[in-house]
């Protein structure tokens, strides 16, 4: 048995027969098998796949889908955190209240701006780093592990460290900036600086991870494309923009989707960045995200119904963004003819 298995592993990189969607041919039924055994065998063949995927779907139904729908139901009620069994019907009131609520719009705007200033530079730098890591290098392993090290750092630990580094009075960053004549940026209280600081934490944690994902995609680009291009006299930059980027476009789209989802959920970084006033996202809500607003409504303010309305608004926003991205990529693909 063991030898068969090893043999199987070795040709593991060989492409699987067919495209993986065709069923394996049914094995010949052994003769003289008792009827109940063959029935059992067929049952096993039919039921086993469902049994194998069942844990995922049960877990998702119990801890994902069911609570998601319940959140929708709750969002139509007034519910107190301490007496969650008394629900008062409110219809769409929770949503209309959000519409007229300044803090909600601030949180929405913050989520958007922090999302943009954390995602765009992050992915751009990751793309550049991946391109550099794709050259023949000494110390390749070291560079890869080094840029991934922030990924091993938790949101909580990373944020606490950056709170220190960004301290307006004695932080390393303001000290460093003061060497260039930039003094006294208030990274805590001012809107843009605080949002840039929070985006820096996100960018620091995720750039290396995305760079490795891009690197993997780049390594799958056929080498002959580059050779042909360099014979045609294309510069390295032209090769990068004309070959590399179009070839790994699916991967780039994937990371854009994942980072967008991550950005809409941003919670721990602003919470801990704000220290004692983290839940409200700073004293003037200058960096309160939608997730934080949801938490503030649901727990400190104990209004589960309104918090649920925020949750469902987030879902709708994600669907909207998804639809826009889908449209955009389809148009993009049509333009590029691929």
């Amino acid at each position: 048995m063991a030898t068969t298995i090893r043999a199987g592993t070795e040709d593991g990189s060989a492409p699987a027969p067919a495209d993986g969607t065709t069923a394996p041919p049914a094995p010949p039924a052994p003769r003289a098998r008792p009827a109940w055994r063959s029935r059992l065998y067929r049952l096993d063949l039919k039921a086993a796949p469902y049994a194998f995927v069942a844990p995922f779907f049960l877990c998702f139904a119990a801890f994902g889908l069911f609570p998601l729908l319940w959140t929708g139901w709750l969002s139509l009620h007034h519910v107190d955190l301490l007496t969650p069994d008394t629900m008062e019907w409110r219809g769409l009131d929770n949503y209309t209240r959000l519409w007229g609520n300044d803090q909600f719009w601030t949180a929405l705007r913050n989520t958007f701006t922090i999302g943009v200033i954390s995602t765009v530079p992050q992915l751009a730098m990751a793309l550049g780093l991946a391109h550099l890591l794709n050259y023949r290098l000494r110390g390749r392993g070291f560079f890869r592990v080094a840029i991934l090290a922030p990924y091993a750092t938790s949101i909580a630990a990373a944020t606490l460290v950056f709170v220190q580094l960004f301290n307006p009075d004695y932080g390393l960053i303001n000290w460093f900036l003061s060497l260039f004549g930039v003094h006294g940026t208030d990274w805590y209280a001012d809107t843009w600086p605080s949002q840039i600081a929070i985006s820096t934490i996100v960018t620091w944690r995720w750039t290396g991870y995305n760079a490795l994902i891009y690197l993997a995609a780049m390594q799958a680009v056929p080498k002959d494309l580059y050779e042909a291009a360099s014979l045609d006299g294309a510069s390295r930059w032209q090769q990068f923009t004309r070959i590399t980027v179009p070839s790994i476009r699916p991967t780039i789209l994937f990371t854009i989707v994942v980072s967008t989802i991550g950005a809409t959920q941003l919670f721990g970084e602003p919470l801990l960045f704000g220290g004692g006033v983290g839940v409200s996202g700073g004293s003037a809500h200058q960096f309160q995200t939608l997730s934080l607003y949801l938490y503030e409504l649901g727990w400190p303010s104990r209004q589960l119904g309104r918090a649920s309305a925020v949750a469902w608004t987030m879902l709708l926003l994600l669907l909207l963004i998804g639809a826009v991205q889908h449209l955009f990529t389809r148009r993009n693909r049509a333009q590029l003819g691929g």
């Binding site: 068969t4 298995i5 199987g8 592993t9 070795e10 593991g12 069923a23 394996p24 041919p25 094995p27 010949p28 086993a48 796949p49 194998f52 995927v53 844990p55 995922f56 877990c59 994902g64 609570p67 319940w70 959140t71 550049g128 550099l132 794709n134 050259y135 023949r136 290098l137 392993g141 560079f143 890869r144 592990v145 080094a146 991934l148 090290a149 990924y151 091993a152 750092t153 938790s154 630990a157 990373a158 606490l160 220190q164 004695y170 290396g208 490795l212 390594q219 080498k223 699916p250 991967t251 989802i261 919670f267 919470l271 801990l272 220290g275 997730s291 649901g298 949750a311 469902w312 994600l318």
Partner: protein, 293 residues
């Protein structure tokens, strides 16, 4: 064995002799050294601050070299936030979540990769779609369920919702689609093996390298998970991240900044050790899992 998880790495070595065109120049090295420095510096500085006194950290310019107060700070942090319980809890939670995610993801990944059944394509699409749903959407009812069961503040409240992850199912499917030949399954079936035997004697041995990588990735993710543990656990029974939020969340100027940094250091050190030892496998796992996505 590892080569089959990291086909990209092997391919690259193979074509390394293809000429000098793709050799890195000095500018490349400069940028990469800079990127590595920016990635590592905050970690180094955490150690510097954790080994300094609180007064020293709160002075400008801040310290750049380690001081001698590491052990005092460690014992203060340990008392302040019960880091012992927190480390143990995080190990238990991340360990359980990693084990069960790897097990269930391998089963489901195998079914999606190699077994024929009605609705396979649609179900796989559902798996991928669930990755886009933020946890915030289910947190409120989940909190009610958990408190209803009197599980608030118990570790199972954090473990149960994470028993299996869509990402893991997808990861194992990608791996097994390529790594597990149909012939091997057929041969086992001809020998009269039922599905569980095939899982045990064929799928697990072939999937082992990918299972190891997935286990490490899930362990890291679970160790660093913040939102749900923060909502459902309290300081009486925290994970590391929840304990850190207590150390850092206090307001006022009497807080010893060096102790906060020590907490961050203690919470990060176990994972950094794992990275130092197994970093290249984790790197390989991320790149291997990403190629097809």
């Amino acid at each position: 064995m590892a080569t089959s998880v990291f086909p990209a790495a092997r391919r690259r070595r193979f074509r390394a002799g293809a000429g000098d065109q793709d050799k890195a120049g000095p500018v490349t090295y400069l940028v990469l050294v800079l990127a590595a420095a920016v990635s590592l510096f905050p970690l180094y500085w955490t150690f510097v601050a954790a080994s300094s006194t609180g007064e020293r950290v709160a002075q400008s310019p801040p310290p750049l070299l380690p001081g001698g107060s590491l052990w005092t700070n460690v014992s203060t942090a340990w008392d302040q936030a019960d880091m012992g319980t927190a480390l143990l809890n995080s190990t238990v939670v991340a360990g359980c979540v990693a084990l069960s995610t790897v097990l269930f993801s391998t089963l489901a990944g195998f079914a999606f990769a190699k077994l024929a059944f009605r609705g396979r394509g649609a179900l796989l699409a559902v798996v991928v779609a669930t990755m886009t749903i933020p946890p915030q959407l289910s947190v409120i009812p989940l909190y009610r369920i958990i408190t209803g069961l009197d599980w608030g503040n118990h570790l199972q409240a954090v473990i149960l919702p994470s028993l299996v992850a869509a990402f893991g199912v997808f990861f194992m499917r990608q791996f097994l689609t390529e790594a597990l030949p149909f012939e091997l399954i057929e041969a086992a079936r001809v020998d009269g093996a039922h599905s569980l035997r095939i899982i045990w004697h064929v799928v697990f041995p072939v999937a082992r390298p990918a299972m190891a990588v997935l286990g490490m990735l899930v362990f890291v993710q679970s160790w660093n998970d913040f939102f749900w543990p923060f909502v459902v656990l309290t300081q009486q029974n925290p994970t590391v991240q929840v304990a850190l939020s207590a150390i850092g969340g206090g307001s006022g100027h009497d807080i010893n900044q060096a102790v906060i940094m020590t907490g961050a250091l203690i919470g990060t050190l176990p994972l950094l050790l794992i990275f130092a030892l197994l970093g290249k496998y984790i790197v390989g796992g991320i790149t291997a899992g990403a190629v097809k996505s």
